[in-house]
């Protein structure tokens, strides 16, 4: 995990995130969060978090970006959207969490031993390699690098899944898989141009 060495770096990051959030449809609504806590109360995993979603919004608005991106909060969001549909201010909190994950990955602030950032990376790799997510490859890579114990914990069920043909070893590539690389490259170039 990289340390945010200077205040100017943290400020730059805050500005970057703020701009990214504002560019999302409805992103400006973060300004009207009244700290009611409905998000945290609705969150099925908030009890595991360093800071609940309400506190994350408060910390972000206070410019405490370091705390925000280094919290485990963003990696425990399961995308259930309960907070998003209940927020009285209409803040798209799930999208905010995505944005924070992006910032953490982009600036190398995600925990190095983190399972969730690794999962994200392997997922995207698989999609670009085959055009589709090859679940077995994703799980195999994840086990090899992040969770050696998984095959043992899961042996009985894994065998059943395998014999039922639910764990095919080989991936099928789509014809247009190169298109995905081109789409990403185009958007990256556009972003670089805008900055």
């Amino acid at each position: 995990m990289t340390e945010l060495a200077t205040i100017s770096e943290a400020k730059k990051l805050h500005r970057q995130f703020y701009e990214d959030v504002m560019s999302m449809p409805g992103g400006e609504k973060i300004k009207i969060c009244q700290q009611c806590g409905t998000c945290t109360g609705s969150c099925p995993t908030s009890y595991l978090m360093d800071w609940g979603p309400r506190e994350i919004i408060a910390a972000f608005r206070a410019g405490m970006i370091d705390r925000v991106v280094k919290s485990n909060t963003i990696w425990l969001c399961t995308s259930c959207y309960s907070c998003t549909v209940r927020c009285p201010a209409g803040i798209k909190i799930t999208d905010l969490m995505y944005e924070l994950k992006r910032i953490a990955i982009k600036y190398d602030l995600a925990p190095k031993d983190g399972k969730s950032p690794a999962m994200t990376k392997y997922f995207v790799d698989s999609v670009h390699k085959h055009g589709r997510n090859h679940e077995v490859e994703l799980m195999a890579k994840f086990m090899l690098t992040k969770d050696w114990g998984l095959p043992f914990k899961f042996a009985g069920t894994g065998l059943k899944l395998f014999t039922a043909g639910r764990l095919p070893l080989f991936a099928k590539n789509i014809k247009g898989k190169d298109e995905l690389d081109k789409i990403s490259a185009y958007l990256e170039a556009q972003e670089a141009k805008a900055q």
Binding site: G26, T78, C80, V85, T120, V127, N133, L161, P168, G176
Partner: protein
């Protein structure tokens, strides 16, 4: 009746039975499904972590293909695929900037998408296009006496709420009632199963599954029906882990909604890939009056 059909990546692996049973069930209903040409991964939730526009653009590649392939609506079975594809439409409509950026990216691969292809969850198609009355008439083996816990999961109706309530969805209950089943009170029906967290923070996801399984068991359910491959995998495949962690003894069959409905519409257990379930479903099949 004819739809373009997006099976999703899980349909080629852990969720094979969802795809197989959807095709078998729709065949019995006389609905034609035409698989989307050369579809790619929708991006699901993981892709949003990379770049929002990227995820909309790769999802939109599918929608662009759908638009070119036919006028029919795009029928989707997986909750996550459904939400990702429908959310792409929503954001393209809400934001001219997103619309422009997505089309710029599609243009780089010789494609274009105007944002208007209707994305429909299979349950939306069943309830709203075919209709409960017509569905009831198609039943050849009523699910009389069967107690069903309908598990909707998260991305069935959240965040969009396009065809059902975001807090307390009811369409699956109505559907199985129309097929003769009794649906049990199930408070957790739209609560989270943990999703991918089962691999990245197992203790958290196991607790969520424990609560769901307990809710279904307390309601007296004979079977849980799901609308998403990840929910199905967590609730079914991880029952032994839940039991070990919490000292419980859950042994509840979990089926895709299309598998149980397929039985009611006259498809055989084999045609519906019931042999692919980890928790055996024989007792569910046996409990349905012939």
């Amino acid at each position: 009746m004819r739809y373009l059909y997006y099976p999703g990546c899980s349909s080629e692996a852990t969720g094979k039975a969802y795809d197989i049973s959807t095709r078998a069930m729709m065949d019995k209903l006389g609905v034609e499904l035409v698989e989307l040409d050369d579809w790619n991964c929708c991006g699901a939730t993981s892709y949003f972590n990379v770049r929002e526009l990227d995820s909309f653009a790769i999802a939109a590649r599918n929608l662009a293909i759908a638009q070119k392939q036919g006028d029919e609506d795009l029928c989707v079975i997986c909750n996550a695929c459904y939400t990702t594809l429908a959310k792409t439409n929503r954001y393209m409509a809400e934001s001219p900037e997103v619309h422009e950026a997505v089309n710029g990216a599609l243009g780089a691969v010789g494609r274009a998408y105007d944002g208007t292809k209707a994305v429909r969850h299979v349950m939306d198609v069943l309830i709203n296009d075919i209709g409960l009355e017509a569905l009831g008439e198609k039943v050849t083996r009523r699910l009389t006496g069967l107690k069903v816990a309908c598990y909707y999961g998260c991305q069935y109706s959240r965040p969009m709420g396009a065809f059902d309530d975001t807090e307390f969805p009811v369409t699956m209950d109505q559907f199985f009632q129309a097929l003769g089943a009794e649906t049990v009170d199930f408070a957790g029906k739209a609560k989270c199963c943990g999703g991918m967290m089962m691999l990245t923070k197992e203790e958290g996801a196991l607790r969520l599954c424990h609560e769901l399984l307990k809710g279904a068991q307390d309601g007296g359910a004979d079977v849980i029906v799901c609308a998403c491959p990840l929910c199905e995998m967590n609730l079914e495949g991880y029952q032994p882990r839940v039991n070990k962690t919490f000292g419980t003894s859950y042994d509840i069959p979990v089926m895709y909604l299309t598998q149980l409905a397929g039985l009611a519409f006259g498809a055989s257990p084999k045609e519906l890939a019931l042999d692919k379930q980890v928790v055996p479903c024989d007792r569910v099949v046996a409990a349905i009056p012939a």
